[in-house]
Symmetry: C2
Subunit: 332 residues, 2 copies
């Protein structure tokens, strides 16, 4: 990111105004928004990850602790994506050697859930360091670092999770590496009911299942749906949103990794959901609804069904999160 | 269309209120809108086709005359798509045997131009018969007959030309045969500069050039562009519209049929056009611009270039037509 580096060197950091500590929440995200593979995504109010960041006398960036990861994430500050991104930003600001930062990462959602777990942590970390430094960067300027964090975490630098996690709301990422990110309006009553079945689907495997070539006629159906979804969101037209949120390309390949997928889908669509599909690369599934009621009913019925089949699950019901990351007070 | 037939049988036609004659204009259309193959399209103020329709004592539907087709269109009322669609509608209304209708078709644009020539004629004819009968059908209810006209004329029943020709403005057709047609807002200063080079590209040949299978990564680029275009149109964001109106899927296959395509594109983009591409299946090309000036400049420069290469051409500069077909006064 050479152009960014040059721009950031002009940012003046006032060391007297750096905070002692900051606590930040960043939201989980539903990438793809069912029909918009690799381009659409939205943030939810819960779950989300939390970063507590402290200024320290000892120079350098360190991870103090990680909670909620089951010991799966590295504490090494060069391998942990949160600290690695923080270091990258400090380096581009030209102050990496001059400051000490300690990080506590509290994960409130499972890794590999298809809910943008790594994105939420990365965004929380970058939002936290920017807050700690007195907000020298505009929120938009954090985006390239968030994308770099995704590259470190997942092996590819897609912005479909980090864009909504950082910007809040519903985001469209177009143009690949150009990072042309467009905010799409959020209808007021749009809710997501998410169920995360306790099965493991690594993102890399989920990607490998997807075919490299697709039929043009399916692509036309898909881009008609994507255009319909975007129009429906601008017009708060829930009927159009519902008809449009159908994935004829990715879902048929990925659904086989998710136990009971088509039964869950039937449950959702017969109990008032606008649409149902895979969140990101799964195994979490998402039912969209108008108002929270259908989302509550659908997630409860899906959980009951999974339980019958011996599959444990978590559920989250939330409006679309429109603010993105936020600073929280320290409670202790 | 059995459901339609049943619905139309309930329409009461008051024979005393049928007009003696009506004159209707229907607009040319730019299908695909560069990046939205088979789903997007818009209407222009010129060119367009004209139908004069007369009630006659002699029962049956007849074509009196066709102007501007160079003798290419059939006068046989069962083979001419305009009269065939009119007959279909009268039949579904249950009054085909009870009424006499004579049609004059005046084509103001060339056949096979990629400007929805057959759609404009069909829409003008159906709008005319509905007007002649005292508007028993809502405009939307004419759509299935328009699509059927496309099927007769082109061998496939796509609505990407007839939808904007009938509804005006910019239309999204999603869901294939379900005819889910969505109107997209038209930014006030959006203009089209169209150049029709005098070369022949039959729609059927242009379709055959298109690959059945495409790369998923190209499809993702394309649907990011489509989503960006729809969002840009809703927000009157000309920058986003410009960045999004790029076709990575169809244009590379079809451009080879259009002489000087890439030179024309370079001329357009270096002289202020927002975007440039093929209109429908070509050979007409279209440059979008903010305001009429760039469209005027670009079409003039493209025409001059084509002329140098010995290729004659027509040009049309127009805002997006927002009203669709309209009744015109008889001037003689």
């Amino acid at each position: 990111m050479p152009s960014y580096q040059n721009k950031l060197r002009d940012k003046k950091i006032d060391f007297d105004r750096i905070l002692d500590k900051v606590r930040v929440f960043a939201p989980a995200t539903v990438a793809n928004m069912i029909c918009g593979f690799d381009i659409l995504g939205f943030a939810v109010n819960e779950p989300g990850d939390e970063v507590k960041m402290y200024r320290s006398e000892e120079k350098g960036v360190r991870i103090r602790s990680i909670e909620g990861d089951g010991g799966r994430l590295p504490l090494d500050p060069d391998r942990n994506t949160v600290s690695a991104c923080v270091k990258m930003l400090l380096s581009d600001l030209g102050i990496l050697a001059d400051i000490g930062v300690e990080i506590e990462l509290i994960k409130h959602m499972p890794i590999g859930s298809g809910l943008g777990s790594s994105s939420a942590s990365t965004v929380a970390g970058l939002y936290a360091i920017n807050s700690l430094l007195g907000n020298p960067l505009h929120k938009d300027e954090l985006m390239p670092y968030c994308v770099e964090g995704e590259r470190l975490a997942c092996g590819h630098g897609h912005a479909d999770n980090v864009a909504p996690a950082l910007m809040g709301g519903i985001t469209l990422v177009r143009g690949g590496s150009d990072l042309d990110i467009v905010k799409i309006p959020v209808p007021q009553d749009l809710y997501a009911g998410i169920v995360f079945p306790q099965v493991d689907v690594p993102t890399r495997d989920a990607r490998q299942l997807i075919k490299e070539k697709i039929l043009l006629k399916d692509a036309v159906t898909q881009w008609g749906n994507i255009a319909g979804l975007v129009a429906g969101l601008f017009q708060s037209d829930y009927g159009l949103i519902s008809r449009s949120m159908q994935d004829v390309i990715i879902e048929p390949s990925r659904a086989i990794l998710i136990p009971e997928f088509y039964t869950m889908k039937e449950i959702a669509l017969t109990h008032g959901a606008l649409s149902f599909g895979i969140s990101g690369s799964g195994p979490s599934v998402v039912a969209m609804s108008q108002g929270p009621e259908a989302a509550e009913v659908v997630t409860a019925k899906i959980q009951a069904h999974l339980s019958e089949k011996g599959i444990e699950s978590f559920k989250y019901v939330s409006a679309v999160n429109v603010e993105g990351p936020k600073v929280l007070p320290f409670t202790n």
